[in-house]
């Protein structure tokens, strides 16, 4: 599937179950006295693909970073896979090993080879035997189409390759949910497609995904829902067809006109 071609409304809801993967209830977050997230309510079903859009500073990244508690929320509740995120460290570790995250700047470990990057967490967190971890890692590196780079260091790879490794590294933990925090924003235009292709493939396999991205073509191609955020709030939430063709709020229309115009 090519992102940007598929424009039909009733996209396949295959793989979406009624099981709730993430539930956020009246979540608020402050940085000092700055109210960064305001009354966020969101529930994500297993297998759903959600794209979070919005202008910079709107709290999109902060919101998905709350889901694996890279950021702490101050009020409201977050349940991930039935586990509530509180200050209980055990729950946080449990959630983190079920939730994969891909960052804007890849954040690969530069002192380890690609393969070691991918086997580190399975070996040390899941206590997977080394050989098994290597097999899993090679499997996912093949999936993102760079098995031949396994023994190189991250610094020797291009940005697109690094981001694909980062995806493979997360997948090696066999997560139930994947969070993407602007995965293509730091890439050269030529490399964006290879990363998006990998993500599309992942979506087709039924992974629960939350993507913060400005790639609207990707949103149209794979998302079940698009969420638009502004000033720390969810302003609009809709299926991609209606979101792009018939945006309800003025803020959304302005945003779309600005990013889709050129």
């Amino acid at each position: 599937m090519e992102p940007g071609i598929d424009n039909e409304t009733g996209r396949s809801r295959a793989g979406v179950s009624e099981e709730i993967a993430i539930r956020i209830e009246a979540m608020n977050k402050w940085y000092g006295s700055y109210h960064a997230l305001r009354d966020i309510n969101l529930s994500v079903k297993s297998g759903e693909r959600i794209v979070v859009a919005g202008p910079s500073g709107s709290g999109k990244s902060t919101m998905i970073r709350c889901i694996n508690r890279l950021e702490e929320h101050q009020s409201g509740r977050i349940f991930v896979d039935g586990i509530e995120l509180s200050s209980d460290l055990k729950n946080i570790d449990k959630v983190r090993s079920e939730v994969g995250m891909v960052f804007q700047h890849f954040n690969l470990f530069p002192h380890l080879t690609i393969l070691e990057n991918c086997t580190l967490a399975p070996i040390w967190v899941r206590q997977t035997p080394r050989n098994e971890a290597i097999q899993t890692a090679m499997h996912f590196l093949e999936k993102v189409k760079i098995p031949e780079q396994a023994h190189k260091y991250p610094g020797q790879l291009s940005g697109g390759q690094q981001q694909r490794v980062a995806i493979a590294r997360s997948l090696c933990m066999k997560p139930k949910i994947m969070l993407f925090d602007e995965p293509t924003s730091a890439l050269d235009p030529e490399m964006i497609k290879e990363v998006l292709d990998t993500m599309v493939e992942l979506a087709e396999e039924g992974m629960t995904m939350l993507c913060v991205t400005h790639e609207m073509a990707f949103a149209q191609a794979v998302a079940n829902r698009v969420i638009f955020m502004d000033q720390g709030q969810i302003v609009e939430e809709n299926n991609p067809h209606d979101f792009f063709n018939n945006p309800q709020s003025g803020r959304t229309r302005l945003f779309l006109s600005q990013i889709l115009r050129h």
């Binding site: 570790d93 983190r96 090993s97 580190l120 040390w124 610094g155 020797q156 590294r169």
Partner: protein, 429 residues
């Protein structure tokens, strides 16, 4: 705009050509480095002249050197008015410069300990050495202590048993949480050392002595002393510095405060002050009758001093790491200690290598400061050698020897650090 024929398409790749003759080889090297313009040419010539002058004025002193004499007067007789060094003093007194007043019949013990130390360092310094030799590295501190100070082998052995006791206590109480388990382990090890190890050592020594002749700390000196203090200080200050650096960046206010106070206090006080504290004041704080070895006290102070500096060096490395590394490690589910050990520290330490080795070298040379509390480091020994009637009035030769040996050891550390930086260079920037 090109009229008529707007498109340009290159059909084939242009072949690569050789650079011009002056742009390669020795000629280019000389031109670029020594004779780039008239100023650099002038400086090249001036430097050459300076080097030649120095060599010319030093060479008679070095080449006329007397290696075989029993006193400075004899040297002068042999030289008969000519200019020349009297390295005979080194030949006469080298053992003293190396070992101080260590009993000559026992010289084999520090020598063996030094050799074993190199063997113990090998698996730590070079990854090509099989990992199983690390076991010897953990055994060496006790073995080295026993070889140098003598006494019963059971003393270091029971000390190791204390570590084992602590380890077992930690394993048994691990369910109670990391902090509590570590505390209990520490308490049980301490109890073993304070209560049980003494009687056990005595009892075992009666069964099977396994003892070497005891050498007291007062008899040790020279490079033996410098290396004992330096190596112990270096190998303790690195791990303690790591803990302290983490403490200073901790989010727990108490841990952070304690670390800051420790670092700032120790760094704000001259090492000499700490050494005097070790030699004079520490005894007043200890219960009467305890005899706390002077070298041990000095080692503790030197280690504390180096630890404070080390912590700041490592904190610099930690601060240089992007926040994303912490986040990636956390997002993968690694807990704090695993993230530190597997992701953060390997990178932070790599960044800090120049600073760490800088501290190591500084610490090693600072060991000569123990002269002020009456320990016989190489400098103190050179003074006492010059105070004898035989060698009164000799300066350069002794200091050249001491300086040369210090230089060799420090240069070795520096070269190793450069090697390490190259080996660990994986960022390909």
């Amino acid at each position: 705009m090109i009229d008529g024929n707007p498109a340009f398409v290159r059909g084939e790749l242009l072949p690569a050509r050789e650079p011009p003759a002056g742009e390669k080889g020795l000629l280019k090297l000389c031109r670029e480095n020594f004779f780039r313009d008239w100023l650099s040419a002038l400086l090249t010539v001036a430097s050459l002249i300076a080097v030649l002058l120095i060599v010319h004025s030093l060479s008679p002193w070095l080449f006329n050197a007397v290696w075989n004499a029993r006193s400075l007067n004899e040297c002068r007789e042999i030289l008969n008015g000519a200019e020349g060094a009297c390295f005979a003093v080194i030949r006469d007194r080298w053992a003293q410069l190396l070992f101080g007043f260590y009993p000559p019949t026992q010289y084999w013990r520090p020598v063996l300990a030094f050799g074993l130390m190199l063997a113990a360092l090998a698996p730590i310094l070079f990854p090509s050495v099989p990992r199983r030799f690390l076991l010897f590295s953990t055994v060496f501190p006790g073995l080295g202590y026993w070889l140098i100070w003598g006494g019963s082998l059971w003393l270091p052995l029971t000390a190791y048993i204390g570590l084992a006791v602590g380890g077992i206590a930690m394993r048994l109480t691990a369910r109670l949480g990391g902090g509590i388990a570590a505390g209990l382990a520490f308490i049980s090890a301490l109890t073993w050392w304070l209560v049980a190890s003494g009687p056990v050592t005595t009892a075992l020594a009666q069964l099977l002595p396994l003892a070497l002749a005891t050498v007291t700390s007062r008899e040790m000196g020279g490079f033996l002393l410098s290396i004992v203090i330096g190596v112990t200080g270096i190998s303790l200050s690195l791990p303690l510095g790591i803990v302290l650096a983490l403490g200073r960046r901790s989010t727990m206010p108490l841990v952070m405060m304690l670390s800051v106070v420790f670092i700032e206090f120790i760094r704000g006080v001259p090492l000499i002050t700490l050494l005097f504290t070790a030699s004079l004041l520490l005894n007043s704080f200890l219960p009467p009758g305890t005899n706390f070895d002077l070298i041990l006290r000095v080692i503790i102070m030197v280690t504390l001093f180096a630890t404070a500096y080390m912590a700041e060096v490592i904190r610099g490395g930690l601060a240089a790491l992007p926040q994303g590394q912490h986040e990636a490690a956390e997002a993968l589910g690694l807990d704090y200690w695993k993230a530190q050990r597997l992701v953060i520290m390997p990178q932070a330490l790599k960044i800090s290598i120049p600073g760490i080795v800088n501290s190591f070298i500084g610490l090693f040379k600072d060991t000569t400061l123990v002269v002020f509390i009456g320990l016989l480091d190489p400098i103190a020994l050179s003074n006492s050698i010059r105070a004898t009637t035989d060698w009164q009035g000799i300066y350069w030769e002794l200091f050249i020897f001491i300086g040369g040996l210090f230089f060799l050891l420090c240069f070795g550390m520096s070269r190793y650090s450069m090697h390490l930086e190259r080996r660990l260079k994986t960022d390909h920037r």
